[in-house]
Subunit: 252 residues, 2 copies
């Protein structure tokens, strides 16, 4: 993975009626955003969840691939009739949709010639010029074409493939993040937090997230920056705030 | 809730850096899509997750409110500096952003005049003409303006408010859904499933979702339609398929 000394961003496109119907809880967003953030210094700026409808997939691929450095799609690369991600991406980029020789061989080996039926063969069909993202758990590869990386929807399979995406990605500037958990409510510190945010302007991003757990209420203050030394400064400001308001810190 | 005898759709706009950074797992999408589907006959056609950035919120509100019957936003209506949903929606619709008298009273009563500080007062600020969505758990109301309903990001609070959205919604045509769990892999039935889908064209939507659990592999076939009698027909076709391929049904 090459390193770029500036911000690199990405969008995630979750393709699947099962998420939109509420049948399945999406787990890929949390996994991908975490991995991209922590392992690649890539910021995810937008996530979209859309149905298995060709024209909608095409529209979103065109739109997001122009706006962001990378687009990660999940879902729709399996063997059934509702798996239309590869053909839709082909159309979005006006590329031929057909067998990828390497993917064909991988799948033929995996299933054996006798059991290599049409559904299984379908998983070797991709946009021409696609490069493979290998799948150590169930053989059927993902692929990258232009700046779009296509991964399967099943979380355990996606997770097993993620390291194989690295060689296609340029690493962004690392972003450092700290969290302070305060035994208070947001509205008790909102004015002062706003002042601290103002002081550091866009150089530090401060977020505040209330929580209710373990029979306790609290606020997680998350502060993120490309500059490590600024996090220490924000920490000192936050400690001043907690002292003046007599707010206890929580270890959670 | 009035009933409309045609399709009613919605988009969900999740506003929050904490979801995009991977810090927090979004739970509101699954809850909202389920509730809208099952209780209101409203189909969610798109979900977007975006950061706490004013111009991005404005762009998405404008875009989604034109494309869908309803837009549900979650997050960004609390007391802190990063809560900018209400002011962004005001700007998107060119409405004045200021105190809603009723919300002001509710919050003043809840906190007591002495403790009603600026952060808490901020939660009474909304687009002019907004109507309140009452909050039985922590007082601070959500609101609806035009076809946009704004709810908080904390799942337990959002869940407690959801029934209060009903009076603002027009009910869509009910969609019936059935699931058959088969002890097989997708690529073993993909051809036949595709043929069944073709037979019913757009009248039934058939999805196939592989699963790996309880030490077993299987496929959930989900079929959905506005016409109940068609589900019975699809069921019969699926039973023929399982018989001819000697596939066991799974009770999971």
């Amino acid at each position: 993975m090459k390193k770029k000394n500036k911000k690199v961003n990405a969008a995630i496109l979750i393709i699947g009626n099962e998420i939109l119907s509420g049948r399945t809880q999406d787990k890929n967003t949390a996994f991908l955003t975490n991995w991209l953030n922590s392992k690649c210094g890539i910021i995810v700026n937008e996530v979209r969840i859309i149905p298995d409808v060709e024209k909608i997939i095409i529209h979103n691929i065109k739109n997001l691939s122009k706006k962001f450095n990378y687009v990660f799609t999940t879902g729709g690369i399996g063997p059934t009739h509702d798996d239309i991600t590869a053909q839709s991406i082909s159309k979005a980029f006006k590329l031929k949709y057909g067998f990828n020789k390497e993917a064909y061989k991988i799948l033929e080996n995996y299933y054996g010639i006798k059991n290599f039926n049409d559904g299984r063969k379908k998983m070797a069909k991709m946009p021409s010029s696609a490069k493979l993202i290998y799948n150590p758990s169930s053989a059927a590869p993902g692929f990258i074409v232009k700046n779009v990386l296509s991964l399967p929807g099943v979380p355990s399979i996606l997770n097993s493939m993620i390291e194989n995406c690295k060689k296609f990605l340029v690493k962004g500037k690392s972003i450092y993040s700290k969290t302070l958990n305060l035994h208070t409510v947001e509205s008790n510190i909102s004015k002062e937090l706003g002042q601290i945010q103002k002081k550091y302007n866009t150089k530090v991003e401060i977020g505040s997230y209330p929580f209710f757990r373990l029979g306790s209420v609290g606020v997680s203050v998350v502060y993120r920056s490309e500059k490590k030394y600024l996090l220490l400064k924000v920490y000192k400001d936050l400690m001043k705030l907690t002292k003046s308001k007599k707010i206890k810190l929580l270890n959670i």
